[in-house]
Symmetry: C2
Subunit: 741 residues, 2 copies
């Protein structure tokens, strides 16, 4: 039996890894496949496992199998032949060039190509992952975790490079600002997709520095609800959004991934109508009728309505109870009852969000996108909508329902009292007279921008840790039980020198899969608070500045410690979130101006004036704010457009020099030279050669003596033309003089 | 003397030209330089003329000189050596490729290149024009008409191809819709710049077909001022604008001029601060500080304000007088007095427009743009602003001042009565009681969209003709006088067989220079009426449909008959007008909705309700309309974005196949093949070769016996892995079973 053949030297693996820098060092393991052994149908599982190993071997991957935790196997995968991988990488680079992602074609000499552009960890891991997961007809092994035939494959993950991670976290926690080099490092290890997230965070953070100073200044000088802050805030969101759009392209160019979204990985679940030739490459592609898809997409409208109604109703209900309990109700148990809405929300919201989220996923599946990117973008859009409602509705209700209509609506809340009285036997419910609490919006904003952020951060860091610890404990207990019974589980079978390494891998197999979407979502929602409601509390950017410094490090920690190493996907943008950013920035101009109008005590006391005039003013402020927003956006875009991005410039220069080189290769160096002065001899009308050619041509076509020939032969050479011209001039001049006299 | 040498055969030139298709046929004349002989300083004129001929000869151009009309010379220019021109054209094509305008590099074999892509008239003429006008240090003769040293050069123009023009006009006047081929023909003869104008016209015309049907339908069913029409109209402008943006790119790709605006011709008048290397090509370029320019650009704000105030004041004044005279005043001479405002406007407007236009030009000069394109765009922007005010203010005044505030404001018009009474001795001025005329907006709209269009068209066609005829008469008389006195003018000296040809050229020399900007301006202003005010009269698109059918033909006539043949410039878009189009489309949503709200009798009787509620509703309609506009625009853009443009697709396919070919040339055909299945033999874990390599590598690095080696050697080959795995599975399974029991 293979496990028996133990190596002689028992080296403590993990410690030793500290000195090694590459993935290679992790015992050359490229990927680990976590295979859950089903508790039933042993024969089927064995057959399935055999197929798995065969599929992997077929595409040139070497495998080793070890015991995992909790009835699972760990299949270690590495590329059997480095040379084969090199060919794959080289082909990928060639393909990039074919699709216009790279500006320069890779070196002809393969070994020189790899010397000039060494293979990064991310590039290697991405290709191996594709090799494992691509469909068989495209040269992959077709292993798709959790789906169909491979439902027992729980996950496929690369191993963390602990040495790098440790150094990374250490470095980041001791510096204030990340530079290009740091981002480059992330890109090399975790791929452009993750690197873009951190680049975005870094840009956002830098911009927040300015905004925090501005916010703090206005808070001290003019206080809350000021037009000045609303304008500055809107301007800031515009500049940030437009600037990031440029920065994003620039980064994509620098990282050599611009347009990489065009090379898209097809979705395995895609159902097609027919095949057609790709108009660009001529390869057959699967086509699904876009009108059919459009019809499915139209379902988004009822879906959005449903989301809005369901979540809106829950919020409105809780909001009403809350107002009633906290500001009207004065009966028994008030101290406890005020928590009712919070309890309802805490209970209902996650459940509803999950249900609606699943529904969104189903809807997106039905829309049947061809590529993973399109599918993801469509899903993100829907999730953003749900998030938008859950995050901002409480504040909207306070700003636009509670404040202006509070006095009118609160009497209706008596329904709660009546209901309560019916159920309560004591009939001892008393109410206070209602007074609108003008600080409610500010308090809520502070809650969402400080308290909630801190709680979130804590949850993100602590919960996974606690979960992991608890899990381990449970497992230990379980294992002990199983050990006693089966006497042959997991680590027991390990060869001593592999033990530490395998334990580590078993730990990583239990970790969560890192999803950068979650982190983006958090940031975009935060940006929304800033853009929409920060006018209620100008210190919001200061709070976010501090929060994001920590957030960035904690996200790094999350990747390094509490998640499996992410698959290093490529990306050339923050993708669908960009639209969300633009939308929030636009909406911010409207909402901010409306809030300032309603709450600014200079304009008028809150709700002191009759409804219709107030409404006129409100509409007018909103309308003006929007026009100013659109105008400013146009201007900012224009001004930023004037500034050339270094990345794009570099790209153009690259393309130019590449074309020039190609031209020189094929046409000789003079082809691209500046125009040389013509070879006409001075004083001669036509070159001798040209004359001869002309004569030949004319004699062939019988054109000598033609009107054309006669016309052009009247003045032979420069001197004659000059003479004739001078004569004509002097004639005219003398003519003029005669007529004058 | 050269003129004496007459050819023997006296062929009637012009008639004969009917059979020849190319510019070559026009006696091979490429350009004619119209040189005005100054009446004073004969010696200087002679020296200047000599320099001109020398400069032309130096760059390889052959010249002939003849007498022109009215103390002028006609200098005929042709390229001396066709081969030299061919090199120039080939270089231009190579340059296009270098800058990414062409997707494919020109053929290496020059003669094959010209066979594959024959030189069009436009291409030839453009290059010869550049040869004549480019600065000397860039290899041109540096002849710039009317400027500096060459102030006596009145114009440089190519000769019309009468045969083609005749056929062109005949063809167009007998067909309803222009197709791609027609546009292609225009492009070949007059260059992309003119072709884009006609392409735009054609697209606009086709879209108007739909809109006219819709407008006619709504007019019959719901009449004027309907929400339905306002929405349909807005939707139409959005779809047209977004569609044209795509179409434009598509045409540019098809015509091989995409991105040609990047290869820009420097302005001769540009003043630079310093030179720097172009980041893309590395060539030295002249730089002017953008902040300095921005400072000058800020002057646009006071300029715009001034334009608005001056023109606005004139309009308001005339408008008030008009209202007073036509609807209040009832005294003597009313029939004549009502024309006062029209007379004032007709007198003052052109003068003011010209003054402001000149000012705009000066401002643009001061902004000091590096390229002709940038200069032109900046100028067009300012002219558009002036045009906007002059064209739409009367309608704005009627819709938003006269209608809602008429009752309030008209009493103030009594000032006119009082003034008039002071001056009049009779004291017999009577006034009617004022009644708002609800049809005024509609009547004005009809005036601007029908009457004014027809007048314009007539002016465009008839005025130049009359002007030309009158000119000719004057000249004939003048010539007769001069003839008698000087006895040696113009046509008198002609060789008989050249006479007809020279007379024709003399005629063309007197024609106007065709400026496509004027035609664009007319169309954009028209589009503005449609987008902003057509809701007042839904038959507007019908009127425009008819008008534009004629307009397109009359523009063709204008080019063919009453203008010099235009220099065939290239362009890749309708340029700065695109922004104007987008702006008008956006503004249209707001203005239309406001008009409908104010005038629609369903919403409320005109001005019957108190001001504040009306204003609230107005603002609300405008606000909603704008949101709907933005939303619809976003949706239309998204949907149109889903449709791939055939031109872009072709371009991508071109690029792809070009890269593929290059790759195959340099790497061999297998480089671009699909991934071949790996060379790992089935059942073997690692290829023999790979194993050997591995062994070699390991023995070199002393890695045999390393933990890595040990780890991967435990299970040698697929079979062992499978065996071990199966064993582990069965253990687990039995373990599970044991634990279950």
């Amino acid at each position: 039996m293979a496990i028996g053949k133990a190596g002689q030297r028992a080296i403590p693996f993990v410690e030793n890894l500290g000195n090694l820098q590459l993935t290679h060092a992790l015992l050359s393991v490229d990927y680990v496949i976590h295979y859950k052994i089903p508790s039933e149908s042993r024969a089927e599982a064995e057959a399935n496992f055999t197929e798995l190993i065969e599929a992997l071997t077929k595409v040139g991957l070497a495998t080793e199998v070890r015991n995992g935790n909790d009835s699972s196997l760990l299949i270690f995968v590495k590329v059997a032949s480095e040379r084969y991988l090199a060919t794959q990488i080289y082909r990928e680079r060639v393909q990039d060039w074919l699709y216009g992602v790279r500006t320069t074609s890779p070196e002809k000499d393969v070994s020189k190509a790899f010397r000039d552009e060494p293979v990064t960890d991310a590039e290697r891991l991405r290709l191996v992952y594709l090799l494992v997961t691509k469909p068989k007809n495209e040269g992959g092994a077709g292993i798709t975790p959790k789906v169909g035939q491979w439902k027992h494959v729980a996950s496929i993950f690369p191993l963390h490079n602990h040495a790098f991670n440790r150094q990374w976290i250490k470095q980041w926690s001791s510096k204030y600002v990340l530079d290009e080099k740091d981002l480059h490092q992330i890109r090399d290890k975790f791929g452009e997709s993750v690197a873009f997230y951190f680049a975005f965070m870094q840009s956002y953070f830098s911009f927040l520095l300015v905004h925090a100073a501005f916010g703090f200044g206005t808070w001290i000088i003019v206080g809350q609800y000021s037009w000045l802050y609303a304008f500055g805030n809107s301007l800031w969101t515009i500049v940030f959004f437009e600037w990031w759009k440029k920065k994003e392209v620039d980064l994509a160019v620098q990282w050599g991934v611009r347009g990489v979204s065009r090379i898209q990985h097809p979705r395995t679940q895609f159902k097609w109508d027919h095949e057609a030739a790709d108009p660009v490459t001529g390869e057959p592609v699967k086509v699904y009728s876009p009108t059919k898809r459009l019809k499915t997409q139209l379902l988004q409208i009822p879906f959005a309505l449903a989301c809005f109604l369901i979540l809106g109703a829950v919020f409105l209900f809780c909001f009403s109870i809350e107002i009633f309990l906290s500001e009207v109700y004065n009966g028994p148990l008030k101290t406890y009852l005020v928590f009712t809405p919070t309890i309802i929300l805490t209970g209902a919201l996650p459940v509803l969000s999950t249900i609606l989220g699943n529904f969104a996923e189903k809807l997106t599946d039905a829309e049947n996108y061809r590529t993973n990117d399109a599918h993801h973008a469509a899903l993100v859009q829907k999730l953003f909508f749900i998030n938008f409602i859950t995050s901002y509705i409480p504040l909207f209700l306070t700003a636009f329902v509670y404040m202006p209509f509070g006095n009118i609506l609160v009497p209706y809340l008596d329904i709660f009292r009546i209901t309560a009285e019916k159920f309560s036997s004591e009939n001892a419910i008393t109410t206070e007279s209602f007074q609108i609490n003008p600080d409610r919006l500010k308090k809520q904003t502070i809650y969402f921008t400080v308290t909630a952020q801190i709680v979130n951060l804590a949850l993100e860091l602590i919960v996974p840790y606690v979960k992991r610890q608890a899990f381990k404990e449970v497992e230990k207990v379980q294992s002990k039980i199983t050990q006693k019974e089966a006497n042959g589980k997991a680590s027991i079978g390990d060869v001593p020198e592999e033990h530490a390494f395998l334990e580590r891998v078993r730990n990583e197999a239990e970790l969560d899969i890192y999803d950068v979407t979650t982190d983006y979502r958090e940031m975009i929602v935060q940006f929304g608070y800033l853009s929409l409601f920060s006018v209620a509390w100008p210190l919001t950017p200061v709070s976010f500045l501090i929060n994001n410094w920590v957030e960035m490090r904690s996200d790094a920690m999350k990747i390094a410690v509490s998640s499996q190493r992410p698959i290093p996907w490529r990306a050339d943008s923050i993708g669908p979130w960009l639209n969300a950013l633009g939308f929030l920035s636009w909406l911010g101009s409207i909402v901010s101006s409306a809030i300032v109008f309603l709450f600014n005590s200079d304009t008028h006391g809150p709700c002191g004036e009759p409804w219709n005039i107030s409404a006129w003013g409100l509409l007018f402020s909103i309308f003006c704010a929007e026009q100013i927003f659109l105008g400013t956006q146009y201007a900012v875009r224009y001004i930023l457009g004037q500034i050339d991005s270094p990345g794009l410039q570099k790209e153009r220069a690259h393309r130019f020099s590449m074309r020039k080189q190609l031209l020189e290769e094929s046409l000789g160096p003079e082809a691209t030279e500046r125009l040389v002065p013509p070879t006409v001899q001075y004083g001669e009308k036509i070159t001798r050669e040209a004359l001869e050619n002309e004569a030949r041509r004319m004699s062939v076509s019988g054109a000598i003596g033609s009107p054309e020939h006669a016309f052009w032969q009247r003045q032979q050479g420069l001197d004659e033309t000059v003479q004739v011209g001078r004569k004509l001039i002097s004639q005219t001049a003398s003519g003029n003089q005669t007529s004058k006299n």
